[in-house]
């Protein structure tokens, strides 16, 4: 992360130093510090509170007796605390669902992205529009007909059906990311391979795919976390508690305080941490990928 951050700063650093400008400074210093502090508090506090709650004892949580500082010494007991919630079962399910969604989505995306980037064909505009417009369809509005469709196909109450439905929502973005990546690869590389008599499939899988690997990785992360976070379809399709992903499992605790809250928060922390870590690692690519996917028409 640190190296990533350093990059743009060093890039502009010489100019900036020379500038020393009132021009770039839109706020006076105390105001700036105050505003930054407010932002950090706003963004950081809820996460801090989640950690604090997970490290509190159940009895401290009620009657506003929760301390302001986390009990770090309880970190060691966190395993036992989490044990009261079947979170590991649910996290495994989340992993299967997110992994399946990613794999299937990427296969479609690499093929379609290649076609959109490198071919001119009749109906290309229509295919592009389909891939663009379907991103705009709200999940919650489609959940009823998809539920009806899956009920008639017998695809409810299984992770396979859920993966199939998830892919429909994650694949369009991936296609745009992959298409953008292939667009950026000079065509001459493929030409050279083609002259050597390479068939197209080989060019795509052995020449192009390694070159766009960073973008594939970014698309994979986006897909994985879409699958990891997905709640609505999972809640609607899967009734059996043992098959729930962690999102549905954890949501079942909201507003019910039968299970001790510190266990629930500890489990939620476990569900959140992988997302935070991965996000910090690939943040930049995710942001450009997401916006590229939604903007390219």
């Amino acid at each position: 992360m640190a190296t990533q951050e350093a990059h743009p700063v060093t890039e502009h650093a010489p100019h900036k130093r020379r500038l020393k400008a009132p021009g770039k400074r839109n706020f006076s210093k105390p105001v700036r510090v105050l505003m930054l502090a407010a932002l950090v508090l706003f963004s950081g506090f809820p996460l801090y509170w989640m950690l604090n709650t997970a490290l509190s004892q159940d009895s401290e949580l009620y009657g506003q007796a929760q301390g302001w500082w986390p009990h770090w010494e309880r970190l060691a007991d966190l395993g036992d605390v989490i044990g009261t919630v079947p979170i590991f079962k649910w996290l495994t399910n989340s992993m299967v669902i997110a992994g399946g969604t990613t794999l299937l989505s990427l296969i479609f995306a690499v093929l379609a992205g290649y076609a959109l980037s490198r071919f001119k064909f009749y109906g290309k505009g229509a295919a592009g529009f389909l891939l663009f417009a379907t991103q705009m369809l709200p999940e919650a509005l489609l959940v009823v007909p998809i539920y009806a469709l899956f009920a008639s196909l017998g695809l409810l109450n299984g992770m396979g059906g859920l993966i199939l439905a998830n892919v429909a929502f994650t694949m369009p973005v991936s296609v745009w990311i992959i298409k953008g990546a292939i667009d950026a690869i000079p065509y001459e590389i493929e030409e050279a391979a083609a002259v050597d008599g390479c068939p197209r499939v080989t060019i795509l899988s052995l020449v192009l795919t390694p070159l766009i690997l960073p973008s594939i990785a970014a698309a994979a992360v986006i897909n994985f976390f879409d699958g990891w976070n997905e709640f609505l379809l999972a809640k609607t399709f899967i009734a059996e508690r043992d098959l729930w992903p962690a999102s549905v499992g954890l949501a079942s605790f909201i507003g019910q305080y039968l299970t001790s809250l510190n266990s629930v928060m500890a489990a939620a922390l476990l569900f959140t941490l992988p997302a935070l870590i991965f996000f910090l690692l690939v943040q930049r690519r995710i942001v450009s990928g997401l916006t590229a996917g939604s903007v390219k028409g």
Binding site: G23, L39, F119, K120, F121, L130, L137, N229, F231, T272
Partner: protein
């Protein structure tokens, strides 16, 4: 790659790849369809057909327990919807939620980007903290905030108590329900605005600043002359994205308030879900869904037209 619509350069050239001489002409012509076919067919099955079925469903009375056993009722669902205040209330909640979330997320996000565009000690860590909420899964977000907003034991009441305000039911009082879900949503989506605007700010050439400084421009004038014109297209696009995403946002609202208190946060998407899975009326749910689709479609078309216009301007 970020927010500019790029024109894919090699749209024509690739057809020159010859797998072999011209007897493969047919193969040449069908091969793009082999690559794009799976994705297109998939989306037709899982997106287009459900949309069509959803519209069909909206003209029927279909119970949840027998999704394929509906009876046709014509326009009944629609006329009933449009004649009850509940639907207009839901539409109003959607517009209010969307407007408030977008305005606050874009204003705070863009402000944060401007602040973070200046070098200061600890910038990396501040930036990371402000960015993190975006990566927090929605369900975890709802869990955290439902605890913070908790009526009897939540920390927010503890904080406002310091100022002499009594305990408030942030999630159960119709006065505060909408504000609570908007606050939570802004917390979650603001970082994306910040990151995108920051990327745009960092692409402003410093020469431009230098030039305005030579002209003796003050901070505000510089902002108006250099900064804003440069980031305006980005802000516009991110505003539209935020709008589309807010209209369709379901989880945060459903998990925090379930559409309540007293339907004050019953946005169209939440309404669809409740009609379908609580009231078990798939037909009426589909009708609300169809009307919601129209709203999304309007926004999408506006978005498309603006993009076209901008692309034309850039060219």
């Amino acid at each position: 790659m970020t927010l500019r619509t790029s024109i894919s350069p090699p749209a024509v050239a690739p057809t020159q790849i010859q797998d072999a001489p011209s007897r493969h002409h047919m193969w040449q012509r069908i091969s793009p369809y082999i690559y794009i076919g799976p994705a297109v067919i998939y989306l037709i099955i899982f997106m287009i057909i459900p949309v069509v079925q959803g519209i069909q469903l909206s003209f029927t009375k279909t119970p949840l327990v027998r999704p394929d056993g509906g009876t046709g009722v014509g326009l009944d669902n629609y006329t009933r919807l449009l004649s009850t205040p509940q639907f207009y209330n839901s539409l109003g909640a959607t517009i209010l939620y969307t407007a408030a979330t977008v305005i606050f997320a874009v204003a705070i996000g863009a402000g944060a980007a401007l602040l973070l565009n200046q070098a200061f000690k600890g910038r990396t860590i501040v930036r990371a903290i402000i960015t993190l909420p975006w990566a927090v899964p929605t369900v975890a977000t709802a869990l955290i905030f439902s605890w913070i907003f908790n009526r009897s034991d939540g920390v927010l009441n503890e904080v406002v108590g310091v100022f002499g305000v009594g305990q408030q039911g942030w999630l159960v009082d119709p006065k505060y329900g909408m504000a609570a879900v908007v606050l939570t949503s802004v917390w979650k989506v603001m970082p994306l605005v910040m990151l995108v605007v920051l990327a745009s700010l960092q692409s402003i050439p410093s020469e431009l600043y230098e030039a305005t400084r030579m002209d003796g421009a003050g901070a505000l004038e510089t902002f108006k002359a250099v900064t804003w014109p440069h980031i305006a297209p980005t802000v516009r696009v991110v505003t539209l994205l935020m709008t589309i995403w807010s209209i369709r946002r379901f989880e945060i609202i459903y998990l925090l308030t379930g559409g309540g208190p007293v339907d004050s946060t019953n946005t169209l998407v939440v309404n669809v879900y409740r009609q379908a899975f609580s009231n078990q009326e798939l037909g009426r749910a589909a009708a609300i869904g169809a009307l919601g689709l129209v709203l999304s479609l309007v926004v999408t078309v506006v978005y498309f037209m603006m993009e076209r216009r901008n692309a034309a301007k850039e060219a």
